[in-house]
C-alpha cells in the first residue's frame, strides 16, 4: 500500500480529553475566520480551487524519494501551500487534507483531529508564512529568497509542528517531555530536510513554468501581518517551552495533572502554586530559554543587517 501514515498525525487515545477539546476550540475559531477571509478574497472560486488543491496536496504526499537504507523523504505540504496560496487559503486547504485523512484513512484520530489541524494547518502555516515572508523581504524579491525562504519555511514548519506534538503528548501525560521533545524534534529535523528539498524543487519548477503563480501568495493579504506575528510568537514560544519542558518533565506533568479538569474539581485552588518556588523554572532551564531567545535575536539581527547592507550597495 502506498499510503503510509506520517508520524505527525496523533491518533485518538494519546491526548487527554482536556487538551483535545481546548485545541478543538482554538482550531474552530481560526478555521472559521480563515473561511470568511478566503471567501472575501476568492469569492465563488474558492470551493473548486480549495477542493482540488487539497486533493493535490494529498496526492503530493505520496511522492517520495529514497534517501538511504530504505528510508525515504516525502512531502507534507504546509510550506508550499502557504507560499503558493497565501496563509488563509493554506489553512483551509490543510484543514481539508487533515480532515479527510482522519475520516477516511484513520490517519490521525477524530477527537485528536482538532489538535492535528492545529499542528499542521495552523502552526505549520503560520511558521511557514513568517519565515518565508521574512526571507522574501530580506532578499528584496530576488530569486535566492524564493529558494532559501522556501527551504527554511518548510524545514522550520515541520520541526516546530513536531515540537508542538511532543508538548501536547507531554501535557496529556502520555509521553514524558524529556524524551518526547528531543525524539520528535530530532527525527523531524531530519524529515524536515527532505521536506525542504522537495519544496525547493517544486518552487524551482513553478518558477520556471508559471512564474505568475508565485506572486499570488506574495501579495500581502489583509491580516497578513497578524499571521506573521503569530508565526514569530509560535516559533519563539515553542523554542522556549520545549527546553523548559524537557528540563523539567515533572513540572509539565504536574501542570497537566493540575489542569486536568477532574483533578481541578477535587483540588483546592491554592495548590496551583506551591509556596516556595514557581514550578518548572530553575536557573538551568531559564538559561536555556534566555540563550534560545538571544540566539534567535542575534541570527535575526545579523540577517537583517546583511540584507540592509546589500540593498544599500545595489541601490
Amino acid at each position: 500500500m502506498l499510503y503510509s501514515p506520517a508520524p505527525m498525525h496523533i491518533p485518538d487515545g494519546f491526548l487527554s480529553t482536556m487538551v483535545a477539546v481546548i485545541l478543538w476550540v482554538i482550531t474552530i475559531g481560526v478555521v472559521g475566520y480563515a473561511l470568511r477571509r478566503v471567501g472575501k478574497d476568492l469569492g465563488e472560486r474558492q470551493v473548486p480551487l480549495m477542493g482540488v488543491l487539497a486533493a493535490a496536496i494529498f496526492a503530493g504526499q505520496m511522492l517520495n524519494f529514497t534517501v538511504a537504507g530504505g528510508t525515504s523523504g516525502h512531502l507534507m505540504g504546509a510550506a508550499i501551500a502557504t507560499i503558493l496560496l497565501g496563509p488563509w487559503a493554506a489553512v483551509i486547504v490543510l484543514t481539508t487534507v487533515v480532515g479527510v485523512q482522519a475520516l477516511i484513512f484513520q490517519d490521525g484520530g477524530l477527537l485528536a483531529l482538532g489538535a492535528n489541524i492545529f499542528n499542521m494547518g495552523i502552526i505549520g502555516v503560520a511558521v511557514s508564512y513568517f519565515v518565508y515572508r521574512s526571507v522574501q523581504k530580506l532578499s528584496g524579491g530576488k530569486t535566492w529568497g524564493l529558494y532559501v525562504g522556501g527551504f527554511a519555511a518548510a524545514w522550520l514548519s515541520i520541526v516546530v509542528a513536531a515540537l508542538a506534538v511532543a508538548l501536547q503528548l507531554a501535557l496529556s501525560g502520555t509521553s514524558p517531555a524529556n524524551i518526547a521533545v528531543p525524539a520528535m524534534g530530532g527525527i523531524h529535523m531530519l524529515i524536515g530536510i527532505g521536506e525542504g528539498l522537495i519544496t525547493v524543487g517544486a518552487l524551482a519548477f513553478v518558477h520556471a513554468a508559471r512564474r505568475d503563480l508565485l506572486h499570488i501568495g506574495e501579495a500581502a493579504p489583509t491580516g497578513g501581518k497578524a499571521v506573521w506575528v503569530g508565526g514569530l510568537v509560535i516559533a519563539l514560544l515553542l523554542a522556549v517551552l520545549s527546553p523548559l519542558a524537557s528540563a523539567h518533565p515533572d513540572g509539565l506533568e504536574w501542570v497537566a495533572e493540575q489542569k486536568g479538569f477532574l483533578d481541578t474539581a477535587q483540588q483546592p485552588l491554592y495548590n496551583l502554586i506551591p509556596d516556595y518556588v514557581f514550578p518548572g523554572i530553575s536557573n538551568e532551564a531559564l538559561a536555556t530559554i534566555v540563550a534560545g531567545i538571544v540566539g534567535t535575536l542575534i541570527v535575526f539581527g545579523v540577517a537583517l543587517g546583511l540584507a540592509f547592507w546589500r540593498r544599500r550597495k545595489t541601490a
Partner: protein, 268 residues
C-alpha cells in the same frame, strides 16, 4: 462504479451499512469521546467498550480480521507512550539495569501505558468501521447535519471527488520517473544521482502536480459556472430522523453515559 484502491468503503448488505449516516457519525464520535474520558485502569469498562465495537464489526459483516488489519496502522505511535512506564512515579514493578542507569518500571506507569494503547486501539476500530461501512457522500451529509459549515463540507466533497484523479496523476508521475531512471535490484547500487538531485526531481514532480491541479480547478470552475453555479452551495434538505433512529441515538448515548458513571464511580 469505479472502485479505487484507496477508497476504504466496503460494500456489504448489513444493518450497520443501512443505518442512517448521521447516527453512525454521532455515535462513533460519542464512542471515541467515551473511550477518551474513561480513566486509566478501569479495565472492566475497557472490556465492555471493546465488546461494543467488536459487535459493531461483526454486525457490519466487515469481519474482525479486516478491521484489525486497518486498526493496527496506528500501532507505531504507541512507541511514544512507552517511556511513561519508567518515568511515572509509583509502586516499583521491576528494574532494568542499562549500562550505568537503572530503569524502574512502576505499576502506575504500566497502567497508564496499557490504557493509552487500549484507548487508541478502541477508537481506531470505531473509526475504521465508520469509514468502511459508510459511503463518503453520506458522511458529508452527516457532517452537514452536525453543523459543520456548508462551505467546508462542499470543499471536502470536491476534494473527495478529485482525490482519486490526482492520486492517479501522482502515480503516473512516479511511473514515468521509474521508467526513466535505472533501478538496480542489487543492494548497495544507487539509482539516479545524489540525494539532492533525487529530491529536486521529486520536487519537480510535486510542482507539476500543483500546476495541473491549478489548471484543473480553473476548468472545473468554468464548468460549474456553465451549469449555473453562483457561489451558493445548494443541497437537498436532509430527511428527518425517524423514531427508531431517535431511539437508537438516545439508547447509545445513555449507554455511553452509564459506562462513564460506572467508570468514575469505581476507578475515578
Amino acid at each position: 462504479m469505479h472502485l479505487h484502491f484507496l477508497d476504504p468503503y466496503q460494500p456489504r448488505n448489513s444493518p450497520v451499512h443501512a443505518l442512517d449516516a448521521r447516527l453512525k457519525f454521532v455515535l462513533t464520535l460519542a464512542f471515541i469521546l467515551t473511550v477518551s474520558l474513561t480513566p486509566a485502569g478501569a479495565w472492566p469498562v475497557y472490556i465492555l467498550l471493546l465488546a461494543l465495537v467488536v459487535s459493531a464489526e461483526v454486525l457490519s459483516g466487515l469481519g474482525i480480521g479486516y478491521v484489525q488489519k486497518r486498526a493496527l496502522l496506528a500501532l507505531p505511535f504507541v512507541l511514544a507512550a512507552l517511556p511513561v512506564i519508567f518515568t511515572l512515579y509509583g509502586r516499583p514493578l521491576f528494574s532494568l539495569p542499562i549500562g550505568g542507569w537503572t530503569l524502574t518500571a512502576s505499576v502506575e506507569g504500566l497502567e497508564r501505558f496499557v490504557s493509552v494503547a487500549l484507548k487508541s486501539w478502541l477508537s481506531m476500530q470505531a473509526a475504521v468501521v465508520l469509514a468502511a461501512a459508510t459511503q463518503f457522500p453520506e458522511l458529508l451529509q452527516a457532517m452537514r447535519a452536525v453543523g459543520i459549515p456548508r462551505l467546508l463540507v462542499a470543499m471536502f466533497g470536491l476534494m473527495w471527488r478529485y482525490l482519486f484523479v490526482l492520486v492517479d496523476e501522482a502515480l503516473r508521475l512516479m511511473r514515468a520517473r521509474a521508467a526513466r531512471s535505472a533501478w538496480g535490484t542489487e543492494a548497495g547500487k544507487r539509482s539516479g544521482g545524489s540525494v539532492a538531485w533525487r529530491a529536486r526531481v521529486t520536487g519537480g514532480m510535486a510542482g507539476s502536480l500543483f500546476l495541473r491541479a491549478f489548471e484543473r480547478s480553473d476548468r472545473i470552475y468554468v464548468a460549474m459556472l456553465a451549469r449555473g453555479y453562483d457561489g451558493e452551495v445548494r443541497a437537498l434538505p436532509l430527511p428527518p430522523l425517524r423514531a427508531a433512529g431517535w431511539f437508537l441515538l438516545a439508547a447509545g448515548l445513555t449507554l455511553f453515559g452509564l459506562l462513564l458513571i460506572f467508570a468514575y464511580a469505581f476507578w475515578g
